[in-house]
């Protein structure tokens, strides 16, 4: 029983990371139509910013700084690189691909390719006993943050004017423009939100894995892509559900099956979902 509790909470912790990355990817894709390969870079920038600042000013300053760095990178990339290529989706993807290659290499040249030990609050290193299971506290940090982010995102999307514009833009971008609303300002906003969420995921991922390396974002990004497709492109709730399914499946199969079987089973799930329900769980339209 204790193993099941531990696996469940660890799986949910992983799901929290996937959700933080996937929700941003999903919003950016849903609204701006950009498949963002540089999303892993936003994550790494946030993670390294916190790692760099923590020994200087403490975590209370370093964590917001990391999140802000992710948001700033996202907004900057949208304004400088993506905006000139509006209505040329393939080129936009290509630019984010180039950016992810160059960005990771840049981080590597500054901080080296080896993983660096990541700072975390003292209480997150302790364990809590639930039933008979010893659960590391960082799992609760991840799950709590993800739930808070999910609620905040849903409130933002459903109760504010900007949220309304974003939701309408995901449904039908041309109609929103035709009504005289500048959708492109919303593009910068979703990139900044996505960057902030990715930065958060970078910081929490560093604490969860205990280390940070330049390639970390890229390896998490692939599972986040799977979560986005399973959840349905453009749907935040879909991403949340898919992240939980993927995180739990991966943890349980990895523990009870052969090494690496969990990762393979996630891809098998993706294939299954595509065969049965090509538009993902949330049934939003999959457009090119």
């Amino acid at each position: 029983m204790s193993t099941v509790i531990l696996l469940t909470l660890t799986g949910l912790g992983l799901a929290a990371l996937y959700f933080l990355i996937a929700s941003g990817l999903s919003l950016v894709f849903g609204l701006a139509g950009v498949l963002n390969f540089a999303h892993g870079l936003f994550l790494s920038v946030g993670a390294y910013a916190t790692w760099w600042a923590a020994p200087r000013w403490g975590l209370a300053v370093a964590v917001p700084l990391g999140i802000a760095a992710g948001a700033a990178t996202g907004a900057l990339v949208e304004v400088v690189l993506i905006r000139p290529l509006y209505k040329r989706p393939t080129e936009q993807v290509l630019v984010t691909v180039g950016l992810s290659l160059a960005g990771v290499a840049l981080l590597q040249s500054v901080w080296g390719a080896d993983p660096r030990t990541y700072p975390r609050p003292a209480w997150a290193a302790q364990v809590t006993t639930i039933g008979s299971a010893q659960v590391p506290d960082d799992r609760f940090l991840l799950i709590g943050t993800a739930v808070a982010v999910l609620l905040a995102l849903l409130l933002f999307l459903h109760k504010t004017r900007y949220g309304l514009v974003i939701r309408a833009g995901v449904e039908n971008r041309d109609m929103v423009s035709a009504l005289g609303i500048d959708v492109r300002r919303a593009f910068t906003l979703v990139f900044a939100i996505g960057g902030a969420l990715a930065g958060t995921a970078g910081v929490l991922g560093g604490m969860y894995f205990g280390s940070v390396s330049p390639g970390q974002g890229a390896s998490l990004l692939i599972f986040a892509f799977i979560v986005v497709v399973i959840g349905g492109l453009g749907s935040v709730t879909g991403s949340a559900v898919a992240a939980v399914v993927v995180g739990l499946l991966q943890q349980f199969v990895n523990y009870y099956g052969a090494a690496g079987a969990g990762d393979v089973s996630v891809v098998a799930l993706l294939a299954l979902v595509l065969l049965l329900r090509p538009s993902g769980l949330a049934r939003t339209a999959v457009t090119a």
């Binding site: 393939t90 691909v97 160059a102 040249s109």
Partner: protein, 330 residues
Amino acid sequence: MTRLTKMLPLVVLAVLILLPYSTVGLPGVFEGSLNSPGTLQMLAICLVFGGLALGYDLLFGRAGLLSFGHALYIAAGAYGTDILVSHAHWPLWAAVAATVPAVAVLAALLGAVALRTTGIAFAMVTLAFAQVGWIVVNRDPGGLTGGEEGLPLDSAGLPASLVGVANTVNLYWVALAFLLVVVVVVHGIDRAPLGRVLTGLRDDERRVSVLGLSAYRLKLGTFVLAGALAALGGAVHALIVGGASPHLASADLTLSLIVMAVLGGAGTRWGAVVGGVVYAYLDQRLTQVGGALPGPLSQPLFILGTLFVLAVYFAPGGLTGVLKRRGRFA
């Protein structure tokens, strides 16, 4: 002018065939003279990547299929051949002859699922499938793949003419032959009605469907053919570098194939070949001289990634596009 342009590929081919007989050294460009084993191996890798990039461009530039999982088929070709030669002690030709059709079957199975989606979803699905390949290769199931270390090719199973530093020149010709095969196949398709149908698929799939052609089958056929060419290239790559390494299965390899195709000029006759050769040359050469350069410039991927981003903005037709425009104004 046009006759010259038509003759140019043949002239380049003749130069490439005769190149190992030259003892000329190009200081700064290559470390040794042209016929030194180091330079020949470097050139061989460039030629292989030229072929791999053109094979990928069959999907990307011609059929408009943005696959992010091409590395899977290259790695399958390299590891399949390597495992059959090194573990099962098959002769090389039999190993290649068995691996390439097997990889084509794999591409058919995975392509049949992936092609149910289009556009960006297709890109993500192929990426996910390739990721499984990467995981499997790194986990080293049953000691077959050698894990992160890669699997060295057992030279006992190779013909004597392909073993040893003195025979690097033969490896060079094998690489050239591979490139030639890909060029003949892809340019053959370009010229055949199939090529025009593929371009039609890229530009507007519905029109092709209206003509009564099955877009799904055409795309699947192209996907399988590109997979088989990738497998052959993977096998040749394993032969040249003396083994298969997990890097071949990584998403980064597919990303660099995209960079090669776009840098050279996607969908053009020679663009991807030029892009692949130039990229592979810069990648190897920048690694050689990288230590001498300061800061981020010591990372080949930083330079290549930045060049690529700049090319997307300022040279949309790639290198061949730039050359063509120059030619017109000159």
